[in-house]
């Protein structure tokens, strides 16, 4: 494919230079992109990858779109992130770690960071701090949710980005996608599921496999938490199970904080 780019309906489309970076993460989201066996070539003709440590040795600091995976857990990561932000025209938070802190932020629930360090490393000194999503430090232009991200969705998002189309996430919850598939609702089977309050877009990945949703995409717009608690209660599922899941990826952290605040004030029944 020619370097210069092409046009779509008469509008010139540039082939942007794209870089991938990772902070604290499992690198699974990047792997999802490498896992595009069938469409990798089209992907490469759409964008020019100039930095992808997991797959290539050459690196460049000249890029337009930066995909950043992972959350920030150390000062050096914050600096790296800020440097990336300066260079990138568009900064994309790739995956739930980058968007919300991901599983990494589970350690934040211990108030005592020293205990956390000691639990894993004993007396050996290690540096770490409260886990934060990218948005705590820099402006994020676009979030791609999911743990892991869904490659079909990433492809669509990248295509839209290149075309200058806006990227719209579904605003409704996972149930919409799940019931559309004709699945049997997991609550019928006695399983917990965060589908009713979690943002859709994953195509009900987990419920399709009879695993209740864990909320990796964070809350849907207008997630009705009060009613959802009622649902959990009615189905005799321990509230702890719901809280474990809401806590898992960090997407619900604001809501949990609010719930906790209310509880502390004794406002909840």
């Amino acid at each position: 494919m020619e370097k210069g780019g092409r046009s779509y309906l008469g509008v010139e489309i540039k082939r942007p230079r794209v870089a991938f970076f990772e902070l604290s993460s499992c690198e699974g989201c990047q792997l999802q992109i490498l896992n595009n066996e069938a469409s990798l070539l089209s992907f490469l003709s759409l964008v020019e990858i100039v930095n992808f440590r997991e797959a290539m040795s050459i690196r460049s600091d000249d890029y337009e779109i930066a995909f950043v995976e992972g959350s920030v857990t150390r000062a050096d990561e914050e600096e790296r992130l800020k440097r990336i932000r300066k260079r990138a025209g568009v900064l994309v938070a790739l995956g739930s770690c980058a968007c919300f802190g991901g599983v990494n932020q589970l350690k934040n629930r211990f108030n005592d960071l020293e205990w956390v360090k000691h639990e894993v490393y004993g007396d050996h000194p290690v540096e770490t701090r409260e886990v934060q999503p990218l948005s705590a430090f820099v402006e994020v232009d676009l979030s791609i949710y999911g743990c892991p991200v869904k490659k079909e969705e990433v492809e669509q998002i990248v295509t839209n980005l290149v075309l200058g189309k806006s990227v719209d996430h579904p605003r409704y919850p996972v149930c919409m996608e799940c019931t559309a598939k004709g699945n049997t609702c997991l609550f019928e089977l006695g399983e917990p599921c965060l589908g009713p309050i979690t943002r859709a877009g994953c195509d009900s990945w987990c419920p399709d496999n009879r695993m209740g949703c864990w909320g990796c995409r964070g809350p849907a717009d207008e997630a009705n938490i009060i009613q959802f608690r009622e649902v959990i209660r009615k189905h005799n599922i321990p509230e702890e199970v719901m809280l474990d899941r809401m806590e898992c990826f960090g997407g619900f952290r604001h809501i949990l904080k609010e719930m906790k605040g209310k509880q502390d004030k004794g406002q909840m029944e």
């Binding site: 499992c26 699974g28 070539l41 990858i49 639990e119 695993m211």
Partner: protein
């Protein structure tokens, strides 16, 4: 000629995670040669404390994107052993099959995307697309098959959705399983071609005597659970994993180090082949012989070759497993879990070596203590000492900077380190 050089590779590429190589040679003497893991730690062991048991496999799978299936399975095994549960034969077969899919996909990813560019003078697989289209397509084909297989059994190729304590949430579609079988059969010629390709590469000639640690085969090539063995003759039970790993911290690395009978040890494909080659399936055995993998091999660069041999082995083994699974009707997918107080260890051979998860629970099934020992942390010390020795040999041979750097990078890559895993 007295050689002097200063090599510093900050964030080695084409490996999973962040690690640095430093080599400093002055007048032919190696002053410093080290392998430093600088990945940020994530503290999974702490995260788990206080969580109910079903969180363990779900969260721990996220230690690593490449071997998430292995982590999930090790975690499940630890929980099940703590609760004194025995998985059904069907569950065991499905888990092993799922494990094979991960092994195949990870090995192919490493062989073609991470290692092969070094032998073909390229910086990335992207550069191989034009000169070697069939090879790249072949790699993509095998990887796709392995990924599809993982989707079919585990629900998702990474961070699987169907694997839970007690079994599976859902069983694969039988006709899809049959078609996986056909695709696996069809991939054998591809693997033979891959073997030919790797046979044409010049594997650097470098040997350092090493203690190889793996699961101990009992009648078959081991992947999930069983006794632990080292090539120096140590044999221990699964629960005694701590005595096999002896983790300790060093200053320049955020990942822990390990040792057994010597100052360092190694795990991984080469360790497994070294310790269990008699259990390889016929074609895998043939290919091992063809590629010069016989007897105890102490050349770490041969780890890639061992991965290739294992790729063939897992395909052969998967065919047998699918045959057995399709030979009988589906049984119950999932057992009921009854938590109890206790602790358990799960040892699983993941692509990069032996992985241990350990948890202890209170009577309601909440985790009171967790420990995960990852293959790469078991290898770190060995990589480090290998680098030192390599630098010394190179300095003796008067190799230039570039060559030393190339071989050093290749050496680390040969171990296929999984760094974010190791600093979980």
């Amino acid at each position: 000629m007295k050689l002097t050089c200063d090599i510093s590779v900050k964030h080695l590429t084409r490996v999973e995670g962040h690690g640095n190589i430093e080599i400093c040679i002055k007048d032919g003497q190696v002053e410093k040669a080290s392998w430093d893991v600088v990945e940020t730690p994530r503290f999974f062991e702490a995260m788990l404390v206080g969580k109910r048991y079903e969180n363990a496999p779900y969260i721990c799978g996220r230690i690593c994107g490449i071997c998430s299936i292995g982590h999930t399975l090790a975690s499940i095994r630890a929980v099940e052993r703590a609760f004194a549960m025995t998985p059904s034969a069907q569950t065991e077969k499905l888990r092993l099959l799922l494990k094979h899919m991960e092994t195949l996909q990870s090995h192919i990813l490493h062989l073609y995307f991470l290692a092969a560019p070094d032998f073909l003078n390229a910086t990335s697989v992207l550069e191989l697309i034009e000169p070697h289209p069939e090879e790249v397509q072949r790699a993509a084909r095998i990887k796709l098959l392995a990924n599809d297989g993982a989707d079919l059994i585990g629900g998702r190729r990474l961070h699987p959705t169907r694997t839970v304590v007690g079994g599976f949430t859902m069983l694969p579609d039988r006709s899809a399983l049959a078609s996986l079988e056909r695709r696996l059969q069809a991939v054998i010629p591809d693997l033979k071609q891959a073997a030919e390709l790797f046979a044409s590469f010049t594997i650097p000639d470098f040997n350092r005597e090493t203690e190889w640690v793996s699961l101990k085969g009992e009648g078959s090539y081991p992947f999930i659970g069983g006794q632990l063995i080292s090539s120096d003759g140590v044999v221990k039970g699964e629960d005694e994993y701590l005595a096999m790993t002896n983790e300790y911290m060093v200053d320049h690395s955020t990942s822990k180090w390990s040792r057994l009978s010597r100052k360092s040890m190694a795990v991984g494909a080469l360790a497994r082949v070294n310790n269990n080659s008699s259990f390889l399936h016929p074609l895998a055995g043939e290919i091992a012989a063809l590629l010069g993998l016989t007897g105890l091999t102490h050349n770490p660069y041969m780890n890639s070759i061992a991965q290739l041999v294992e790729s063939v082995h897992v395909v052969e083994d998967s065919l047998l497993l699918i045959g057995e699974l399709l030979g009988s009707p589906w049984q119950e997918a999932r057992q009921i879990v009854t938590p109890r107080e206790g602790s358990g260890v799960g040892a699983v051979e993941v692509p990069r070596g032996i992985l241990y998860h350990y948890y202890s629970f209170d009577s309601s099934g909440r985790i009171t203590k967790a420990d995960c020992v990852i293959p790469t942390s078991q290898n770190n010390a060995n990589i480090h000492y290998d680098l030192h020795e390599l630098a010394a040999v190179m300095a003796d041979q008067g190799k230039d900077d570039r060559e030393i750097r190339r071989l050093a990078e290749m050496l680390v890559r040969a171990y296929d380190p999984c760094i974010s895993c190791s600093v979980h």
